[in-house]
Amino acid sequence: MTSNGGSLPAPLGLLAELTHRCPLGCPYCSNPVTLDRRDDELDASMWGRVFREAAALGVLQVHLSGGEPAARRDLPEIVKAAREAGLYNNLITSAVGLTPQNLAVLTGAGLDHVQISIQDSDEISADHIAGYKGASGRKRAIAREVVKLGLPLTINMVVHRANIARVEPMVELALSLGASRVEIAHVQYYGWALRNRAALMPTREQVEKAVRQVETLRARYHGQIVIDAVVPDYYARFPKPCVGGWGRRSLNVTPAGRVLPCHAAEVIPGLEFWNVREHSLADIWRTSPAFLAFRGTDWMLEPCKSCVRRDQDFGGCRCQAFLLTGDARAADPVCHLSPQHALVERLAAAREDASYSYRSS
């Protein structure tokens, strides 16, 4: 069935999108442009079943995400169910909607780690990016509360043209909040971010400077804070090994229960996604058409098919290949070996100081 050794890999991580509702409007939101409705959301007991099936498949960590997961009143019940299934419980939150009280309840229910997004070290800019006045102050307060409760904290900073000059103060902010880890995540252009690409895209010089700064900061704060960086792939030579390979290490469940190989996969037309309401997670992982579509390397075209890096980066991202070239089997055009690579360079240069098209719910 696959050409990567024949045996089916066991997934490591489950991204559980508990809801698409969110109070913020970040113009690079990774949610799809068409959001799942509240009425269609899986209930807590269904999530419990999904977590138990995930653990049985080999999943070790669940990333409780959204939207804003705290928008769900039954979040403590969901956290508890994940813990009871034996999963490592990671809450990915904007922190808006969390209070010290409900954070303490969630901690008691079995959280292992909290990741909070912060939009910028400059508070006015941060609130402008989030489209929510006062968000920055609330995030900082909740971040401190996480540390006070003894939980490990990651600060996620999404980087783009408006804040890329402030990588250093952003890392220092994370450190001052007591985070043990910070993600410097350059925007990836899907969904809302694709819509706002011209307004978000930094210049090559800005990106190169930011990459050098991360190296300097890593050395300076070695042993104090871990700095993980998500590379800006429009300026890369090789593509990212998207989700560690399609259907190889992780799965994503949408608020309404559709199971995707990655959160953006629904942009690819013609893929058939199965729903946890109708199928077991094991069946979906093993045999659903969407997971089989690009698992392994049999689906590849040239230049990926004969590339020495094909088992390393898996041809890059299928969604990006489709979005930029119209063919989901093509090489991710951010790869310099792609015949369509010039297109990426042209798109990266098409910057425009337009106002954001905020994510709407």
């Binding site: 066991a10 490591l12 080999g58 070790l60 960590q61 292992d112 780690h113 939980l151 871990v226």
Partner: protein
């Protein structure tokens, strides 16, 4: 990141911090260290060391115990333990207490 010649106090009480767990996974083929948004495969030596990092035993006591259990030279064990724990501490995966 190994740092040869690194020093750690023998009276430190190493332990896994909250949010870092050593667990066995049949499906993933062995022991793994679960950490914030990361998973590390743990080899047999790492597992033996980390199982002893409970916060109760000192680093010296852990080294003594391993040297006795595996009838291995104490200096070599000491170097392995210091290397592993130092590198984990740098990644915020261990508290030296």
């Amino acid at each position: 990141m190994d740092q040869p010649g690194r020093q750690l106090s023998g009276s430190a009480h190493p332990r896994l911090p909250r949010g870092v767990r050593l667990t066995h996974s049949e499906a993933q083929g062995g022991w793994v260290l679960l950490a914030p948004e990361r998973v590390f495969k743990a080899d047999a030596i790492t597992v033996e060391i980390l199982k002893r990092c409970t916060g109760d035993a000192t680093l010296d006591a852990i080294v003594d115990d391993l040297a006795k259990t595996f009838t291995a030279p104490r200096e070599r064990i000491h170097a392995d333990v210091v290397n592993l724990l130092g590198s984990l501490a740098d990644k915020k995966l261990l508290e030296l207490g």
